[in-house]
């Protein structure tokens, strides 16, 4: 390598971010899926850790309550040998009135390589990229997106289907019919999932009462229906969303019982599904609302698999953003 080439590669690469599934596109998603396979193998080892991001620092900045996403990112960072810093709104200067900008600039000034951020305002992570030099990863912003959830959901489906086929290649989601059921209107998980599933070739059906459906679905690559029962028989995957009581300020549902009766995955609906259909939920599950207590524990339910894959896929995302370098 000549001196010129050395200087070229040692120049700090421009920070790269993951704000939306659209930042990746189909090729980017498939690359993350491919990387996830490599990290799935790492997580099966007796010592599930590699030195890939030694010396890097990942800060998790959560302005909204979350345990699983934050723990999942921190575990992923640690398994890559990165150092982690944790910021939670309730125990920090935010309660003293510090602005988001001052908070993230302060954390950035301590020297970090990536900031994983969750914020109640849609678009907050995008704003943060204008203020700091580190890579920004959106861990959920308002009702906008939650891209790593969609990536782990996609990986979980692909990996489960590969296991059934007994094949080697992950492939994509073409030919699959996936229903996303619940509060589509307020769900950032639904937005990211629609983009990811459609990019990988799936047909997506949104199932929700009219009050929980977005005002317009123009430009969304989906079908929509209010009739869950009619859709059941042809589904390959049923993806249930949590009814987010904390976001339902206005009265959009007569009662949670009625929601369960019309849109919940009851035992009767579960038995009307095709035998090989998969059941998914991003967690935390509210048994008795979106899903019956016993249905959540059926073998078709991939909920714990999703949590397991969350760590694997977030390792892939961190490595993809911090480990690749540019030339």
């Amino acid at each position: 390598m000549t001196l010129d080439e050395l200087l070229e590669v040692r120049r700090a690469p421009a920070a790269r971010h993951l704000l939306s599934i659209n930042d990746l596109g189909r090729e980017g998603i498939l690359e993350i899926m491919h990387l996830s396979d490599a990290f799935a193998e790492v997580s099966e080892r007796p010592i599930p850790k590699v030195p890939a991001l030694r010396g890097r620092t990942v800060a998790t900045v959560f302005m909204e309550p979350s345990t699983r996403t934050r723990l999942s990112f921190e575990t992923a960072a640690k398994r890559l040998s990165a150092d982690t810093m944790t910021f939670t709104a309730s125990t920090s200067a935010t309660v003293k009135g510090e602005s988001l900008r001052d908070t993230v600039e302060t954390i950035d000034a301590m020297g970090i390589d990536a900031m994983v951020i969750r914020h109640h305002a849609s678009g907050a992570p995008a704003r943060v990229t204008e203020w700091i030099g580190a890579s920004v990863i959106n861990a959920g912003d308002g009702t906008h997106e939650h891209p790593t959830q969609a990536l782990l959901d996609s990986y979980t489906i692909l990996e489960t289907l590969r296991e059934r086929r007994g094949g080697e290649a992950l492939g994509d989601l073409s030919g699959l019919r996936i229903a996303i059921v619940g509060d589509i209107k307020h769900s950032r998980v639904a937005r990211s999932d629609v983009l990811a599933f459609a990019a990988l070739g799936a047909k997506v059906v949104l199932v929700a009462p009219p009050t929980l459906m977005p005002a317009s679905l123009e430009g969304w690559p989906v079908e929509a229906t209010g009739d869950f029962d009619a859709a059941l028989g042809e589904l390959d995957v049923v993806y249930l969303l949590r009814i987010q009581a904390e976001r339902l300020g206005e009265v959009l549902l007569p009662s949670l019982d009625e929601y369960h009766w019309r849109y919940g995955l009851t035992r009767a609906r579960a038995s009307a599904l095709r035998k090989d259909a998969l059941i998914m939920h991003p967690g935390p599950m509210i048994r008795g609302v979106e899903i019956s207590p016993d249905v959540a524990d059926l073998p078709a339910s991939l909920v714990t698999r999703q949590v397991h894959n969350g760590v694997v896929v977030r390792m892939a995302v961190l490595f993809h953003l911090l480990g690749s370098g540019e030339i």
Binding site: L35, V42, I47, V50, A52, S324
Partner: protein, 195 residues
């Protein structure tokens, strides 16, 4: 050609062969000699396992394992490792794992014969040693390569060599089913001129 090598190169460069230095038969004979040397050095194959380095070392490791099985009449455990996550140039270059590591046995107490196509700076082998150490404590690690082209940057030497091939630093060496070639890495737009 090893994809691992290709990804470690500036994107888009292609290999243009200038001369063939070993043909397919010569590669096969060199591998057979290495197999006999491994059996001789280890006084048989008890505790010997063969591990190919992704991706260039893997086809050679597969052939080597079947030759060893033929010589001693017993199967030799065969695995492969991808060292992407252990490289020392992560963040400097695009580093991607090519194939998932497949090491379906415990290496603790075994004699691991690492197999790669080309030994150059030694950095891939260093990464492989770290990757192996993370999996267990091998009794011994031995290194078999088809081509040693020199220019080491680390104190690493091979135990078994197909061919010592003096090269310039800016040249490139390819090992494939057809044999071993020496040539140059060229940006695609210069490809025509180089031919």
């Amino acid at each position: 050609m090893a994809d691992r090598e290709r990804t470690a190169r500036p994107a888009g460069r292609v290999f243009i062969a200038r001369a063939q230095v070993m043909d397919a038969d010569e590669v096969r004979r060199a591998l057979m000699r290495i197999a006999h040397e491994i059996v001789e050095r280890n006084r048989g194959l008890a505790d010997v396992v063969v591990v190919g380095l992704q991706t260039g070392g893997v086809p050679l490791a597969v052939k080597l394992a079947s030759m060893l099985a033929e010589i001693e009449g017993a199967d030799v455990p065969l695995g492969s490792i991808d060292v992407a996550f252990y490289r020392d140039d992560i963040g400097l270059r695009p580093v991607h794992p090519e194939v998932v590591t497949d090491l379906p046995f415990d290496i603790t107490g075994r004699v691991v014969v690492l197999v790669d196509d080309v030994l150059f700076t030694g950095r891939t082998v260093r990464a492989a040693l770290e990757a192996l150490a993370a999996r267990g404590r091998a009794a011994e690690v031995q290194l078999a390569v088809m081509v040693d082209r020199g220019h080491r940057e680390l104190p690493i030497r091979p135990d078994f060599v197909g061919k010592n091939l003096p090269t310039r630093r800016d040249e490139s060496v390819e090992v494939s089913d057809e044999g071993v070639s020496i040539g140059d890495l060229v940006a695609p737009e210069l490809e025509r001129g180089a031919r």
